[in-house]
C-alpha cells in the first residue's frame, strides 16, 4: 500500500517538474518569437503553480514588452527581493521599468550597480536589451534627477569617446543632445 502511494507521489512530482519545465521553456520560446501575451500566460501559470523566480522574471519581461510597466516592475522587485544574485535579468528589467515609472533615483542607482557587476550584459532572450540599453536608461534617469556627471559616465559606457563638461550649461546641453542622438538608434 505504502509503495503504491510512493509511486503516485513520484508521478505527481515528476509531472509537476515537467509541467514547471514546460511552462518556463514554452514561455521563453513564445517570448523569443515575439508572442508576449502567450509568454505572459505561460509564466503567469508557472507563478501560480510554483513560486519559481525565473517565472517571475519571465512574467516581468513579458509585461514589459506589453507595456505594463507597473506589473513588470512589481515582478522584478519581487525577484530582486528574493534573490538578486542569480536572476540578474530582473535587475536590468527593473532599471527599464523604474525609469518608465519615473522612479529615476532608484533606476539610476540600480543601473550603476548593475553595470558595475555585469559590464557586458546581454539579455539572453532579447538581444536588444544589453548593457548599452541599461546605461542609456540610467543616463536618462540621472539627467532627470539633475546629476549630469553620472549621466556622462553612463553615456561613456555606450560611447567611450564622448566627452562634455557636466558642470557648465553647455556641457549639460551636449549631454542632452548626445542622449537624443543615441535614443534614435539604441
Amino acid at each position: 500500500m505504502v509503495r503504491k502511494y510512493i509511486i503516485i507521489l513520484s508521478i505527481i512530482l515528476i509531472s509537476g517538474c515537467s509541467l514547471f519545465q514546460d511552462n518556463i521553456a514554452e514561455g521563453w520560446k513564445a517570448f523569443e518569437n515575439g508572442d508576449y501575451e502567450k509568454a505572459r500566460d505561460c509564466f503567469s501559470k508557472e507563478t501560480i503553480l510554483n513560486a519559481n523566480l525565473e517565472a517571475y522574471v519571465g512574467l516581468g519581461w513579458s509585461n514589459a514588452k506589453l507595456g505594463n510597466k507597473e506589473s513588470a516592475l512589481s515582478s522584478f522587485e519581487y525577484v530582486i527581493l528574493e534573490d538578486s544574485i542569480n536572476y540578474i535579468d530582473a535587475i536590468s528589467g527593473a532599471v527599464f521599468a523604474g525609469s518608465a515609472m519615473c522612479m529615476d533615483s532608484t533606476s539610476a542607482i540600480r543601473g550603476t550597480y548593475f553595470l558595475s557587476k555585469y559590464p557586458n550584459y546581454v539579455f539572453e532572450h532579447d538581444t536588444t536589451a544589453t548593457f548599452k540599453q541599461v546605461a542609456f536608461t540610467s543616463a536618462c534617469s540621472y539627467v532627470n534627477i539633475g546629476d549630469f556627471s553620472s549621466a556622462l559616465l553612463m553615456i561613456k559606457i555606450i560611447e567611450p569617446g564622448f566627452n562634455a563638461i557636466p558642470e557648465n550649461e553647455q556641457g549639460k546641453l551636449d549631454i542632452l543632445l548626445k542622449i537624443e542622438e543615441i535614443s534614435q538608434w539604441i
Binding site: A64, K65, G67, S99, T127, T137, N168, L176, E180, W185
Partner: protein
Amino acid sequence: MTLQIILLDYNKYMRYITRITLFVLLLMSFNVLNGQKYIIGGKYEDIKRLDVKILRSSRYNFSLVESNCNNLKKLLKEGNIQYFEPVAKAKAFFIPNDFYYSHQWNFNMLGMEDVWDLTMGVDSVKVSILDTGVGFEYYQIPSYEQSEVISGDGHYHKADDLNSATFLSGYDYIHNDLHPNDQNGHGTHIAGTIAQSTNNGIGVAGMAPNVSIIPIQVLDYQGEGNSYSIAEGIYYACDQGANVINMSLGGAPGDSNGWHTVHNAIIHACSLNIAVVVASGNDKVGKLSYPAAFKEVFSCGAVRSNQQKTSYSQYGSGLDFVMPGGEDSNKILQETFRGFYDGHYSRVDSFAYYYYYGTSMATPHLAAAIALLKSYGIINLDEIYGRLAYYAIDKGENGYDTLYGFGIPNILNALNSTYSDNTPPVFNIYLAENPIFNGNINVWTATNEELQNGMPDSVKVKRGSEIQKYTPTIISHNIYKSSFSFNTDGEYEISVYARDIWGNYSTSTKLFNLFYIPIKTEKNIGMDTYQFLFSKNTFPNECVIQIYCNKDGFDIEMPKTINTPVRLNIKLNNICLIGPNDQPVPYGLDKGVKLYNIEHNGYYRVVWNIKTYNIDKGIILESYEPLNGILSIYSLDGRLVKSSKLTNRKRVCINSISSGVYFIKLKTKGMQLKRKVSIW
C-alpha cells in the same frame, strides 16, 4: 483576616497604581500625552470646535495648537482642517564678534557713492525687517520682557545712528505687542545696513537711508523663533504696504518641513509685488535653508571683500545672488548694542559699532538694493530680478552657477540702464524614448534665459486633434523635464510655451513619431525573395532593425548564418536602407517598390531619406542619396518663402529665414516629401 485581605489588596493595587503612574510619566516624557505644537490651517471658528488646544490663532487663517499627530491626521482625514505641520524652528544667521574697524569696504565694493548720486531711496518705499526687532524707540521695557534684556534705566533705546531713519508701525510677534524693540542686536545691525543715517557726520552709512523701515520682531532675545511667528510677520508686512521684506533667518539646510505656512505667506507677498529677500544660511553646505530655498524669494549668499564666496555661505540650486557678508578680518560694520547678546542678555541702552559677518549681513545689502530700484521707479519684481541678474558681476563659472547665483548685483547699472530685453527666449527640446518601454518619452527643454515663474508655462503634446498639457519640473538651471507615456503610434507635436522675465513670449515645437511594431516579416513571396511589410506608414527619424538572413528567410531577432543572398522589398517612399557599412544599400524600383539585395548579415537601419538639423535662422537638409528636384519652403498659411532647384545634392543649407514654423516640400522624381519644421 478581613484586615489582612484588605491590606493584601491594597498592596496589590498600589503596585498597579505605581506601574501606571510610571508609564504615564514615561509617555509624558515622550510628549505622547502632552501633545506637540503644530500649525494647522483653517478658520479659527472651525478650529475652536475641534479637540485641540489652541495656543494662538492668526487672523490669516492658521493657528498654533497643541495636539498629537494621530489626532490631527484624523481631523485632516475628516476634512476638519486644511493641513497641519509641526512648528519649524528658525534662528538668525549671524556670528557676532567684538572686533572694531572704521570703514565699510562692502559699500565700496557695491559702488554706493555713484549709486547715491542717483538715489538714496524715498520714504514711500517701505522695507520690512523680520528679525529680533530694531533699536528704534525709547520705550519702557514691559514687565514681561524685563527678564530677557538689561537696561540701566529700564528702557529700550533708539540706536544713535538711526536718528534720521524713518520708522513705521511695527509689531512684536514674540510678545504680541506693538513695540518690536531689538532684544538681541542682530536686527539693529541689519536695519543699519539698510537705513543707517548717512552723511550726518557720525557713525557709519546705510545703503538706502531715505527708505522707511517697518520693524517686525519674529525672533526672540536669543535670536530664535519659529515659522508661525515668521508667517504672521510676513502677512503683517503685507498689510502694512511693505515693498521689500528682509529675512536674515531660516531653518536647517534643505529641510522644508514646517515651512509650508511661511511659503503661503511668501506667495501672498509676491502676489502683491513685494520682494522677499532671504539669507541662504551659514552652514557651509550645498543646499539652501528654507525659506531661502523657495523659488519665489530673492535668496542671498555671502562673499568676502575679495568677491570670493565665504567659507560659510550656503550655496546650491535656487541661489540667486551674493552680497558682501564678510569673513575673517573683513566683516560688516554697523551700529548695534554695546553689550550684544553673548549667550546671556543684551544691554539695550547703549550702542556702538560692531563687525558682524554672515549671510544675515549680506541679505540686507540685497534688500536695500531692491529698495533703491523701487525708489527709482523700477517696481515690477520680474524686472527688478531681471536687471539685477543681467547686470550682476559674474563670479565663478560663466553665467549662472550655484556657488554665486548670478553674481554680485551691479546696482548702478541696474538703476541707470534703460535696459529692456525684447528678445523672446530660445528653446531647445531634446527627446529620448525608453529603449524597452515604447512610448515612454523623456522630454527635456533647455532655455537661454530666465523664465517667469522659474519654468515654462506649459508643455503641450498634440496628436491629431488631441492635446494634452503637462507641467514641467526643473532639473537644473534653465533645464526642465517632462515625462510622457503614449500607447498610440503616430506623429506627435511637442510645444513648449514660456515667457522670460521681461514678459517676452515664445513657443517652440518639435515633432516626433512613435513607431510601434515597426515591421513584420512575410516569407513566402517566391524563390529567394522575401518581403518586409511595414505595418504603418510613419517612421521615427531613424529606426534600427537588426536583419539576419539565411536560406530559410529573414529573421529580425535571432542571428543566423547567411547562406543565400536574399531580396528585400520595401513598399514605402522617402525611406532609405542603410547597410552595415553605414552606406545606403543600392536598390531597384518596381512600381514604386524599392527592391534591395541583402547580401550580408548585420545591422540594417531603415531611416528617413532626409534628415533636418536646425541652425541659426535656418535649417540643413541631409540626404543619404543624391537629391534631384525642387525644394520649396512654405509658411503655415501656404505662402511660398523660398524655392530652389537641387541637382545631385546630398546636403542643402537654407538660411536667412525668420523664426517660425514652416513646411518643407521636396519634389523629386518618384517621390514627394512634405515635412513641418521649426526654425529659430
